[in-house]
């Protein structure tokens, strides 16, 4: 008997991912400006969905306040560029600072359970919003532009933002992949399923949850900072809006909660729907809500969950498979 952590599909996936990554690097030399701008948005959506899935899907920590980190990531970028630091360096520093701040936040927020945690995070996001409004630099709800970006020509700016988003997404997905495959990854799923039982076998739930919380905060802050770079203006009301978390929930629920591939698929779907139907206004939002509801009713494991079960394939395996088991006479007869 051996333990395998990859399969035939995942090996193919590795090549496909590598090919896609190289294609995305080469893309700017022939793609139109519009395509690059839209892809930047897609990368940010994938980050957001993957980070929410990290918390809710693998950790059972359902937060409706991730806009706190999204907003703070953007705000910190404004503040840091104001100190004459390049915006592209600033966005990384901003995400690190927000990650650091999420550590003390986690110590009291993770004491809350289930619904209390979810709503508590939302409350915290609103408090964050109000506090940022008090900063004279932001000028209340009027907001401020990321003026520092003007030092770059429009062409190179677009290119830099595209690569920043691509590298951030790839780095975060890779980090998440290794995190989930680590000792902490399997512990987090155990905590999600039964915290008391996890404790009884030696898992330090508090510590594991804290690391996942910080990782998700860091990633979501980076998404916020990138969004600021591509939108170039900051209004607190927009960035601290609960709609960001609603989008994350939509992407993950539709794609597949607790599945690595699910969040990415969900982000792709959301992106396609937004590209084609966003212009229809109210009906677009009604449609999003309806799809999320139908999915959670009929495909509780999301679209990827259905594919995975029907075809029994895993493209990005984070679990453990025992191979070389002797066929069991009992189960064979059944």
């Amino acid at each position: 008997m051996k333990i395998k952590r990859s399969n035939a599909y995942s090996k193919v996936t590795l090549y496909v991912v590598a090919a896609v990554f190289i294609a995305l690097i080469l893309l700017p030399s022939f793609a139109s400006n519009n395509v690059m701008e839209r892809l930047t948005v897609l990368f940010i959506y994938i980050i957001m969905a993957a980070m929410w899935n990290t918390l809710a899907g693998f950790g059972g920590l359902i937060s409706i306040g991730q806009q706190l980190f999204f907003g703070l990531g953007a705000y910190a970028t404004i503040r840091i560029t104001n100190m004459a630091i390049s915006p592209f360096v600033a966005l990384l520093i901003a995400a690190c600072l927000v990650g650091l701040l999420s550590w003390p936040i986690s110590t009291f927020m993770l004491r809350l359970k289930a619904g209390e945690f979810a709503i508590g995070m939302w409350v915290l996001a609103s408090i964050g919003h109000l506090l940022v409004n008090l900063d004279p630099l932001i000028q209340g709800e009027t907001g401020i532009s990321l003026i520092a970006l003007n030092q770059y020509a429009i062409e190179s700016r677009r290119l830099l933002i595209y690569f920043a988003a691509l590298v951030s997404m790839s780095g975060l997905l890779l980090g998440l992949f290794y995190l989930l495959r680590s000792k902490a990854g399997i512990a987090m799923q155990a905590i999600r399923d039964n915290e008391e039982a996890a404790d009884s076998i030696g898992v330090d739930a508090e510590k594991v949850k804290k690391w996942f919380f910080i990782f998700a905060a860091f990633g979501t802050a980076l998404a916020g900072a990138l969004w600021l770079a591509q939108a170039s203006s900051f209004q607190p009301k927009t960035y601290f809006s609960v709609q960001w978390t609603a989008y994350m929930i939509f992407m993950v629920l539709v794609g597949g909660l607790g599945r690595f591939e699910g969040a990415i698929l969900g982000a792709l779907l959301f992106f396609v729907v937004e590209t084609w139907f966003a212009a229809t206004g109210v009906w677009y939002l009604v449609g999003l809500g309806a799809v999320a509801m139908l999915c959670s009713l009929f495909f509780p494991k999301g679209i990827w969950g259905v594919i995975e079960t029907r075809l029994s394939i895993t493209l990005i395996p984070v679990g453990y498979q025992v191979t070389g088991l002797k066929p069991d006479s009992h189960s064979k007869n059944k």
């Binding site: 333990i3 399923d193 008391e196 039982a197 076998i201 066929p327």
Partner: protein
């Protein structure tokens, strides 16, 4: 701390109350960690709570628990698991979203060893011992009650315990199924693992333990050889009803 064959677990003056409800009412208890002890008693006697207190899942309201004269009363369950004191749950608590193997592996890698390869071996061995190998790749929420009970045991075993607390691991099983579990538990006894076992099915219990404790209303009312305990007047009273007259009615 490494438990030697002569380690002693001792509980003194254990009280536990939830609000105004007194569940444990002055428990004094001691055992060698390689002994096998059975705990019986009517529902609500406080058996499971005693197990929770001994394994660290709940802290006692007052009283002290020592392991080799070292106070472990405030040491949480996860630390006690690393020291070799591990429990199973009356109602199985599987990690339902991951596979049987992963359920057991997570215990091995967090309590028994930090080497991945060693943890693989420990997990596979525990699963094999509990007769679950064919189910290793199944998601835990897709297995039946007997297998959930076995999984509780396999997962606890993967921590490489010195003393196991079993909470009604035979409950809800047929006699044949329960006897299979007894075989597994006897294997553990041969390896020198101590057992504290709460069980209603006494004849199953007696295949493993040589000492019986009977609890009622949060107290130990009898302790000793199973025959003596079962024929004890107080024990019969606890089981049969509130007064002597009730017996035979």
């Amino acid at each position: 701390m490494i438990l030697t064959p002569y380690s002693q677990l001792q509980a003194t003056g254990i009280h536990k109350s939830f609000g105004s409800v007194q569940v444990l009412n002055g428990i004094d208890f001691s055992m060698d960690t390689n002994d096998a002890i059975g705990i019986v008693g009517p529902n609500g006697a406080g058996k499971s709570t005693l197990l929770s207190v001994l394994s660290g899942a709940q802290a006692p309201t007052s009283g002290q628990i020592t392991l080799n004269n070292k106070d472990i009363t405030r040491i949480p369950a996860r630390e006690r698991a690393k020291q070799g004191l591990v429990r199973t749950h009356q109602i199985p608590k599987p990690f339902s979203g991951i596979t049987v193997f992963e359920n057991v592996f997570v215990a091995a890698i967090h309590s028994a060893t930090s080497s991945r390869e060693t943890a693989y071996d420990i997990a596979l061995e525990s699963i094999k011992l509990c007769g679950m190998l064919p189910l290793a790749n199944r998601e835990a929420d897709s297995i039946g009650l007997l297998d959930r009970k076995r999984l509780e045991l396999a997962r606890a075993l993967a921590t490489q315990p010195k003393l196991l607390f079993l909470d009604e691991i035979g409950g809800g099983l047929t006699d044949a199924e329960a006897l299979q579990l007894v075989d597994t538990i006897l294997t553990l006894r041969e390896r020198g693992i101590g057992i504290v076992w709460i069980e209603h099915i006494v004849h199953i219990l007696l295949r493993v333990v040589k000492t019986l404790i009977c609890m009622d209303s949060g107290q130990i009312i009898a302790q000793g050889h199973p025959d003596d305990v079962m024929s004890n007047k107080q024990v019969m009273k606890a089981y049969m009803g509130g007064t002597d007259h009730a017996v035979g009615e």
